[in-house]
Symmetry: C2
């Protein structure tokens, strides 16, 4: 159940089988299914438990008084939505399902117990938080400095690397692809662009063979080229096993 989370954390350090079992047990407790367009949790709610995305896509978003909406991050399998947020009276942003989503509802205490009794897991979860913060800063940078085509390219790069880390990409004859069940409207809300401009920029990207997007599958024919357009530097995702000295010593 917690396979994706485990895979992700192992980008930082190799977990022990005990670590993994603990996570599996915690995640197996209670599973909720959220339908597309429904919220997993809504701004103003009192946080109750930790939500772990088992399957499907969701997003974090904020809504302004006048209805303008900004998606501030995508949530994919393995993402933990709101660890430690239970200390707040109310949550400050919403999380909504983009596809049918299976969410593990883990009592905060349970998860903290699991994490805090293993120094390795403690560090791995710190790492996870640090990466999330870095992603958020990168979004700010994209929205502030990158123009349309760079911004979209950067987002596709981010998602490719994140999905690769949890094993949700394919790699056929050098062309990398992944499921991308997001509409152009949602892409517009995420990049701070109008839908029309997203559409036109995507056409440009297809012409330049930066991406192929058919149905719900995105293919990247030439990752180097896409990264170059995006000025993408993967360092901020910290996928190079920064915590290898903590690796569990198992066969």
């Amino acid at each position: 159940m917690a396979t994706y989370l485990i895979r992700k954390l192992e980008q930082f350090t190799q977990l022990s089988s005990e670590d993994k079992q603990k996570l599996e047990r915690a995640a197996a407790a209670k599973v909720r299914v959220v339908r597309p367009r429904e919220d997993i949790i809504r701004e103003g709610d009192k946080p109750r438990q930790v939500n772990l995305i088992l399957d499907g896509w969701a997003c974090r978003y904020k809504v302004l008084e006048d209805g303008r909406r900004q998606i501030v991050g995508f949530l994919v399998p393995g993402d933990v939505c709101d660890i430690r947020m239970f200390i707040l009276k109310q949550i400050d942003h919403s999380m909504g399902a983009l596809t049918p989503v299976r969410v593990a509802e883990i009592p905060s205490d349970t998860l903290l117990d699991v994490i805090d009794t293993s120094p390795r897991l403690t560090r791995a979860m710190w790492w996870n938080s640090l990466v999330e913060e870095a992603i958020s800063r990168e979004w700010t940078t994209s929205l502030g400095q990158r123009e349309a085509i760079e911004r979209l390219s950067h987002l596709f790069c981010e998602l490719y690397f994140r999905l690769k880390a949890v094993g949700l990409t394919e790699n056929g004859q050098g062309r990398k692809s992944f499921e991308f069940p997001v509409t152009q409207d949602q892409l517009a809300d995420a990049t701070g662009m109008s839908t029309v401009h997203v559409n036109r920029t995507l056409q440009l990207m297809r012409e330049q063979e930066l991406i192929i997007w058919k149905g719900k599958t995105v293919t990247i024919p030439d990752l180097e080229a896409l990264m170059s357009v995006a000025m993408f530097n993967a360092n901020y995702l910290h996928l190079d096993r920064d915590g290898h000295e903590l690796d569990a010593n198992e066969p």
Copy 2:
């Protein structure tokens, strides 16, 4: 020395005198002075210790390959730059001084000891991280959805509330003010606008009496009005003592 940090944390929960002494002792260890335009820490560096801003203004920023720069957050007295970042091989963004800055260099272990031996401080520092993340999301929202005048207004609101929390604002006859030693160039880098447009938007804001900016002092004649233009909702800063049930029981 750690006065501002203590004041900030007490927006979440009342600390005990022991908590405060521990923080004071940790922050007194080693103090470094960084001059304007110098970096406190640079992207790619190996994080060595935790940096606490004692005095002065700094910012977090990212630089793209072609030199474009985005400021992704302001750092003011009481802000902790990089707690827990020492587990990473290299840091993913830079922090630069905007004014002369006094920084307390706290060994990571020292700070973790202090924090982890007091459940109250543990929670208070969680809260601090959650607020920083929320601020980052709000910047993304501003850059994505708010137009120029709203964006600048929102930033002034954020800074007013943050500075008020650490006691760095004045309140003369209903007009709120604070030191704001930031140039229009830097403001442009922070809001993702050109300097020219920042300048013109500020003129507009002065005409509408949303702000008065003389020398290095910003005055807000009518906070309600500014908040309204910015569509500012202070909830995300969580300044309403969410952790009051942890309050230390002291006179």
